[in-house]
Subunit: 340 residues, 6 copies
């Protein structure tokens, strides 16, 4: 059980019930989520001492986010309170040929306006062995690129392993901005996580032979992307998620872990989707647990992919599964028979 | 943006939540729907000035139907208020091998008892370019066959294009009644819409080589039906929906548009169903938009089928999609990937 | 319409809404269920005079169970009231690769603590022609093995046909206890029902060539199991359910009825699951109806499998379908087309 | 425990959740209710063998009404099935100065169209000691006045006691019609129940010194009304409910029982209302139980008023209380302290 | 039926269900509301041709607000679409000694960032006779003070009557800012609406002898405030709401209308609260209807107070009552008896 | 901020929604509660480092209780996991004259079967300054009386202050058992909390001049009870809650704190009840905070009573209020005006 620190935003997630469209909703389900917060919950579920660092407004909505993190075992003692608001995002669940929709309302949030001096990284990292962030955090703007850099420097100095999920968000910044800022942060990163588009969007690294729109995936192309990321930034582990979207209801899902010149692919799962949002983050959470647990390369990617396969069957962003549940699926028990 | 007028019934739709059976329901979801009202909402969603004409009781339940139409942009200014009640129908959602069930309670409704003099078609059609009704409206009985005839005559005189969805309902009238009444109305109809059974039920026109029960569909058979409808009644456009029901959960869905002796078939979609009721009406709505927009024959049928494919993923009867969403699917974007 | 008596437990079933995990649930759906109670409801639905015999606490929760049975037409006049509590079980619905989970909290229930003298079987069986119980009831312990024996003896003496679903529950007793107790009861049983694991667990009878985990099913293996059960205990009918679990969402489902040395297999259904719990019991209910109705062997197994196929599409344990609905599916109408 | 028969309509009751207005409702709570059905449920709750007689359509909505009655212990074995539809009524719960609203949609129901020959009163009344109906049933029209007369004659001949709640409904018939029909039926009635307006509306019997609008109630006036009813029709018991409506949220509630020239008044309760609909019927149910139990005059009215006081705290029409609960309140235990 | 234009913000309102606290909420009820939007809905309910003018983001959340206004009959054709977001506010319903809480998240909204040139007031006011805004709109900052001034000038020039509800919001601006800006706008205002604190907060006009905290209200004090407002700004009508908060559950509610040196007080209502938010706006809506209808002074204030009394019994901000319902209460029918 | 330890049971609480009776419930709201757990949550809300000690089954239901405690800031690190089950209790909310009902199903729980050696009190109390338990814990039976004694001895030895709420539960033990066991524990108790019946039930100490049933309360009587408790067991603080139950909806609520021979009474609140369960525990939580904060005697009782007054307005057992909210009410701000 390691102390692991995640840093980023946490938002109020609002989604209509079931398959309702936004214009039909008389109620929104309220949960709290964010790329790094989702990872923190995964790590707590796997038994780690997970800390989440962010800034939240000092009102009841901010408190509700704190409470939700605490509920799932995340230590919220280092969260800064203050500032004007939490980011919000609206999710409409798609089905069959109708895609899911996400509307962000995150500008002007407390974390986006946070100041470097509000985070004492030496204190935060005391006793920790892992630091995780994603490309969304610097994309929030303001002092966040510098705060990420502060955190990376402190983490590296204090001997933590650092992971980063590229997570490019075109609504938050341009490819150019992302490339410039992430190029500064990546040299600190030991484990890099990306999906099929991130490397191209952020660093212009393209997987040849792959056409995301058509759903064709080339194993060779992914290996070449991982190799390039690994070599350009010195990441010892590069993990890539492989999603084939048959429809909003059915996806194929797999992953690849590249390490020391070798690529390991997980089995591919055909997933009947309950809630797809947070799928990538649950892969990150599983991968970090694999690396913290010194799993071998194949077991590492298998655990990460099984974890995120299960996430697709769970409502809302948090991947509420135990290590034993993930291990059971990773071990081949995929028949879904009732457990009494 | 054209002014389009739809005429028919609008009912209170009551369905248990989720997959509950009627006898399990402690609550009913309440919405408002009807074959022509569903088309009116589609047209409003695509940016047209859609008017709905019907008669509704002057109480809060009738007002709720008016409000629901207004919510989705339909002009309700020509709705007649009065009479005893609204029709009601109960829907139980099927799944897998269990079929959906619809129970109608529509006798004695305000629209069924409406009088010819209550509808001033010249005033209603002022400035309009399209009139739509379905075979359900004359089937309501009373003066409705005459009212439909009044409307068709006025529409034709004022230069509107007229569309009709045959929509045979065996609970409302016999095949003989339907054939007699519809044969009077069809000569006014420019665009005729039908499903795989309507032409046979109403006019005795059979698609050879097709066995609806077995799910086998013959393209040639459908063309022969459309040709016969087109020639018998002089319809310039005949559109037919092609549904293969694998189960209550999964359907194949396609359509064909016959014009000037040529038949265009849409691609076929495999649809994972959220709510199947209103599927045919959403095809009609898409087709009318195609024709109002002067789409070419292939684009016209592709838009109509994509529109109705999406309807199957939306709760309740109304097809709450935008023109852009339909166009995206019709353009080939069927992977259901999340839109952020 | 025959009088049929079922004896066993009925529990409060609590499940989170939709696909929520237990830790997400702010509400539980409350229903009442039990292996034999589910059969009683099926028999009432098919028009029989079904009695349920159990012991329930004399409080409002016990009364709610009585009311739920009454609602679905079961005669509750012979239920004994008293004792400390009802059993409870918690169900979490799985999806795709995530299995459903059942947590039992049934120790110390009124029925588990019931006394032999509380059940006057001669009075209970007055006018009845069928008695049904399952292997769960003696497994509840206390005097229940003796009570079951009392019931079987009285039933046999009074000329009732007796059916038993082996239903082995490893949380309730060991294989050894089950084998010993069930071996005493089975000689009274005319119709024996089992799933793919029960015969092995209880009597050490294995279907060769079948690996439940892998999902491979051998028809020959099942026949050998049925033959062995039939010959060892003199059961004139042995019915076995055949489930292939593709995932928690999709199962294949079929059954086999062995009689007089002949085995009849039903068609296999691919079922998209709404609620899988109670599936086996609904097979038992269908089979008993088949036998009470003197259906021929093929029709008997077809009805039982169609009944239980439909159960998988219905929320909660009770199989709320009519004889006509089952007969329609058993007759080949599996397309799930809307019934208006 | 006596066999008691109630005859009348049972409707589907639809109400928005909580204090929503009709136009706000996306869902309706569904329950089943009717003036006489509510009484039948009360009698079953007090331990009587209560039968309900009506006619319901042979579809799932009709079956749901049957199931709901069965759930609460009413014997539905004499209900006739067939005809086109069930009546429906919509209820909007008022609060403070905003009154509750009821919209009826009951025309053309199966019971309204029922035929005399469908009810075999000799068979229905076999072994029964009480018959109850209300003024609503003949007001449904068609053959219902004759059917009520048939029932009264048979009941009287077979020695049953007959009770009738005047229950004038101005939407169903005029004062003149009511007066004429009820005057024929009343001579058979032993126990007459009325509220503060019924006697005036139906028979022109006015309580002097009482202004319902203003809320002023005169005990003398009520006694004079009861005396007149008793003398004109030979009713041995006349019971009148006394409601003072402070607001839609708070009412004062009491009752009076007139017998042999003496009037007994109950205590008056100040009720904080949960659901007021069915309040009068629960008074009738309590009174009939009192009379069946041979309570003395004061105890009889106290029980009836306590029963109906409790009804005002229960959602939907049925008065789901036990005899013990009513007796506790009637005995003076009105503090509402938690019962553990 | 007059054309009336309201201008201001409309926000997404999110409140937990029932009496839940924010930290308990797994769902939020979603509705749309705002001080001026609430008035527009009132006016539409009373039969006026109510237009709402605002700026909303061009996404589905903005569209949902448009749809909600349309549903209740408001013309949304003049709403500007664009900008980054809608304001949001969170409401927690209080009870007894626990106060309701409102958390605003309205900074950076599309309307707050709107530009003067986006509103063509001459076109908007074509054919209109009334313009309404509140002190909240200029308080939104940016160009809104100027936009309000533009609107007032155009309205005055085009002969509209102008009403303004002072509605001071201390979270949006200081008393000094409010005083400065509102002093520029008030000379255009014909009808001024205020509550017991606004005049003091904005203009430093104090009602002597009144202590809001203690709940003591002095009629003389209110008259002096109205007189001062009337004289300082030349308002022909000044209306003041008088709220005595007994608890979060029970309030006393009344109002006063000052005109030509005379003050008319309404009766005082004791209100059992369902939802208190929007109470003041419903008073404004009622008052404007009174003035548009040329009611005499007493009837005008009675209608406005009855309207807002009813609002306290309705969920969410909009006052969903008809003119007839308000008139009934204003006419003295306050007993809340069921309307059948 | 002090470390405070609470020890006892935590149960799954199940209640129907709103005012539904048990037999109407298709859903139960699920929360977690217990006399001492409720106090722990209160202490965490007031900023203390609150630990909860209990034993919970090692399944998802037990985990859900842990998560709920964590959510509200309680440290669950010392909870023992294992054993068969959690206690459950069912709550039906009363209204007006209908009392709330509580049905316990707590026999055989993990905590009831816990062993002395499972609790290492020296480790648990490390750094703590307060220990709280109630009379319910020893009443659970098994080794719980000894475990409580172990805890009291360790706490006393380690210098903690000890509080105990007598909380007599007649369903758990007899008055004699309670008197014997509690008499052993009370000498360790510094602060004793009781309601109007506990002292009589447990120790036979009666408040003269008070008749709980009638609602009459004598201040002198309560003082004599407190004096007796204080003197007999050497408690430095004795606090008594004073509840007058007008109805299930409206209660009067006050309290008294006796110290050094002086009695301080709080103001009395008239409370409109949202949820009354947990009211007494919230008084205990407030009182402990007062004592930990060294409030003077009057302020101490005022805070405790204001805290518990607010609890009556909050759904479920936990008193989800902040210190500031309680202080505001205790300071006299009881008008319930909206806080924006």
């Amino acid at each position: 059980m390691a102390k692991a620190v995640c840093f980023g935003e946490i938002m109020l997630r609002l989604n209509p019930e079931g398959y309702q469209r936004f214009v039909q909703a008389a109620k929104f389900e309220a949960s709290y989520a964010g790329g790094e917060a989702n990872v923190a919950v995964s790590l707590a579920n796997y038994g780690h001492n997970a800390f989440y660092v962010t800034k939240l407004p000092d009102n009841e909505i901010g408190q509700s986010a704190v409470n939700d993190m605490r509920k799932f075992g995340v230590d919220t003692g280092k969260i800064v309170r203050g500032g004007p608001r939490m980011g919000i995002y609206f999710v409409e669940k798609g089905a069959s040929q109708r895609p899911s929709k996400v509307i962000y309302d995150r500008a002007g949030s407390s974390i986006a306006l946070a100041k470097r001096e509000e985070f004492d990284w030496e204190s935060i990292f005391q006793g920790a062995s892992w630091f995780h962030f994603t490309g969304i955090t610097p994309a929030l703007g303001g002092e966040n690129p510098e705060i990420c850099l502060d955190a990376c420097r402190a983490a590296k100095k204090m001997g933590l392993t650092i992971s980063c999920d590229l997570n490019y968000r075109k609504k938050l910044w341009t490819r150019e901005e992302a490339g410039r800022v992430m190029s500064e942060l990546m040299p600190y990163v030991d484990a890099c996580i990306a999906n099929e588009e991130d490397a191209a969007d952020v660093f212009g690294i393209h997987a040849e032979g792959t056409d995301v729109g058509s759903g064709r995936l080339s194993r060779e192309g992914y290996i070449s992307v991982a190799k390039e990321l690994s070599e350009r930034f010195g990441c010892s582990n590069v993990a890539i998620t492989l999603r084939s979207s048959i429809s909003a209801t059915d996806n194929k899902w797999a992953g690849m872990l590249y390490r020391d010149g070798n690529a390991c692919f997980s089995p591919e799962y055909l997933v009947h989707i309950v809630d797809r949002v947070g799928g990538g983050d649950s892969f990150g959470g599983g991968l970090i647990h694999s690396l913290l647990s010194d799993y071998d390369q194949q077991k590492a990617i298998d655990f990460a992919v099984a974890a995120s396969c299960l996430k697709h069957t769970i409502e809302h962003d948090f991947n509420l599964v135990t290590e034993a549940e993930v291990a059971s699926l990773a071990g081949g028990n995929a028949s879904g028979r009732v457990q009494r």
